[in-house]
């Protein structure tokens, strides 16, 4: 399956592990990625804070560049912020005639043009779970992640505001299912779609650190071995800033933060070094060591006899 590919600035260096592991798992999953020619920064949440038309034009340049690739209507985007920006701009250009007119004029000044709807940005996770599919992925698993308790962490942009509606905005489950298929035990992480805080670590340290603390604490409370993420910003906040957060709150959390593509690669039997392991601040070595090791059986809760069990039935939940 062929797709355009938009790595985004982070994947070049800061999140090189994400890029490396993405390209590594692409091959066995028959995903053919063609990098968008001469793409530029999407502006993250910064450009649009100070400009409107220019911010849309900045992102539209990428759409115009992607549209040049013949026949490749769908663009794989690993970074959640880039994904949201590319999708949002395409949508608004189609809806707001005046905005489109101005952006088109601006693009023309750079010799480019773009017709809204020509290119559909899709998050890498969406492509993996929906286009490749869980069964195809399961078929490639040679080293199931047995013994690992993983916290699936979506962050916000991938599910909200929810372009394409491919997972729930409040309680998404695609990554949960993916990790289960890889053989891991997946915790029901209540913070799984809560924001990592973005650039708040720089704007207001107290706010930024608190937002990171909530997520780490949430995963620790559920005894997760690692948090699995889908976005370079989230990874950096939770991982690179974790020591800072520990200092700020005088905690001593040691929660590894890994990319879902890295976990897939391990489950496919690939070498950890080839998947970018080693660049994380909180070492993933304990996580890797745990795979395949039988966890000691938990003490089962004493079973109440039917007569003593007065508990009321829970409502039925549908297929997750």
């Amino acid at each position: 399956m062929k797709y355009s590919f938009f790595p985004g600035c982070s994947l070049e260096r800061n999140a090189a592990a994400y890029l490396q592991s993405t390209l590594a798992i692409a091959k066995p999953l028959d995903l053919d990625f063609q990098e968008v020619e001469d793409w530029n920064c999407c502006g993250a949440t910064e450009y649009i804070s100070l400009n409107k038309t220019a911010a849309f034009a900045l992102i539209a340049r990428n759409l115009a560049q992607a549209a040049k690739a013949d026949g490749l209507k769908e663009m794989a985007v690993p970074c959640s912020a880039c994904y949201l920006n590319l999708r949002k701009v395409d949508k608004y250009l189609g809806e707001d005639a005046r905005l489109y007119k101005n952006v088109s004029t601006a693009l023309a000044a750079g010799g480019l043009s773009y017709q809204p709807g020509s290119v559909t940005a899709r998050h890498l996770l969406d492509i993996v779970v929906n286009d490749v599919g869980y069964s195809a992925i399961q078929a490639k698993v040679t080293k199931p992640l047995k013994g690992l308790r993983l916290a699936p962490y979506y962050g916000c942009f991938i599910v909200r505001p929810g372009f394409g509606e491919w997972d729930s905005q409040e309680y998404p489950t695609s990554l949960d299912r993916l990790l289960k298929v890889l053989g891991a035990e997946v915790i029901d992480f209540p913070m799984k779609a809560h924001c990592c805080g973005g650039h708040m670590t720089q704007v207001s340290e107290a706010t930024g650190m608190e937002m990171i603390r909530r997520l780490i604490k949430g995963a620790v409370d559920y005894r997760a071995d690692a948090i699995v993420t889908v976005c370079p910003m989230c990874q950096m906040n939770l991982d690179a800033f974790q020591p800072n957060m520990n200092r700020f709150f005088r905690t001593s959390y040691q929660m590894p933060i890994l990319y879902f593509t890295q976990m897939m690669g391990i489950a496919f039997g690939m070498d950890a070094a080839a998947l970018g392991f080693g660049s994380e601040f909180i070492s993933a070595r304990p996580v890797l060591a745990k795979i395949g090791v039988e966890a000691p059986p938990e003490q089962p809760a004493p079973k109440k006899s039917r007569r003593d069990d007065k508990s009321l039935p829970m409502p039925k939940m549908g297929e997750q």
Binding site: L50, G110, R160, V203
Partner: protein, 202 residues
């Protein structure tokens, strides 16, 4: 106060008479698409959902009440839009389907133009980020962080040092900015866009 032709983004009045816009109309016109800001019933779901609300001067809901009341100066000197993390919880939970996050971005832009917001950290962070993008076409973290920290938190640089070192030793930091090939084209595009924004008052 902005003078704009009424009837640009509203279906309400068909007259093409120029008259000063209310602050509410100004914010709606400056937001792409149809923000639905006038539909607010002040239920407070946005303020209840916001992860950074505790640190805001005013909750998002209060800001919308203030916008409707025409309290332009108070709104644009509030830290609320700068503490928005764009998590979109408010937007997806709002029962009136108001595009709250988009409005927050508008308020950021208006706040910078109005120069009423005292704390320059957030606007400067964005400015620094943008400078590299506009000159190279890509983000440049080392440039952004070093200039930002020197300007705003030089003594804090010492506290950031371990993390900075970590980024370097783990190979997660570029020492020089990368540039795109079509940087001239990008510059032309951005310049044109900014020109159109000012002239159309879009």
């Amino acid at each position: 106060m902005t003078i704009l032709t009424v009837g640009s983004s509203h279906a309400a009045s068909p007259q093409a008479v120029s008259k000063p816009l209310t602050f509410l109309e100004e914010v709606e016109a400056a937001t792409p698409g149809n923000s639905r800001l006038s539909m607010c019933i002040q239920c407070g779901t946005c303020g209840g959902s916001c992860p950074s609300a505790a640190d805001m001067d005013h909750t998002p809901r209060q800001i919308f009440a203030m916008i409707r009341a025409g309290l332009r100066d108070e709104v644009l000197s509030s830290n609320t839009p700068w503490f928005c993390v764009s998590c979109y919880y408010c937007t997806v939970r709002c029962p009136q389907e108001i595009h709250i996050t988009d409005i927050m971005y508008t308020l950021k832009r208006l706040s910078v133009q109005a120069r009423k917001y005292d704390d320059s950290r957030a606007p400067d962070f964005s400015r620094q980020f943008i400078t590299w993008v506009e000159n190279y076409g890509r983000a440049y973290e080392l440039g952004l962080m070093s200039l930002f920290i020197l300007r705003h938190n030089p003594f804090g640089a010492i506290r950031m040092a371990p993390m900075g070192m970590g980024m370097v030793t783990k190979g997660r930091l570029d020492f020089t900015p990368k540039s795109i090939k079509g940087i001239d084209g990008l510059k032309a595009i951005l310049a044109k866009a900014k020109e159109l924004e000012v002239s159309n008052e879009v």
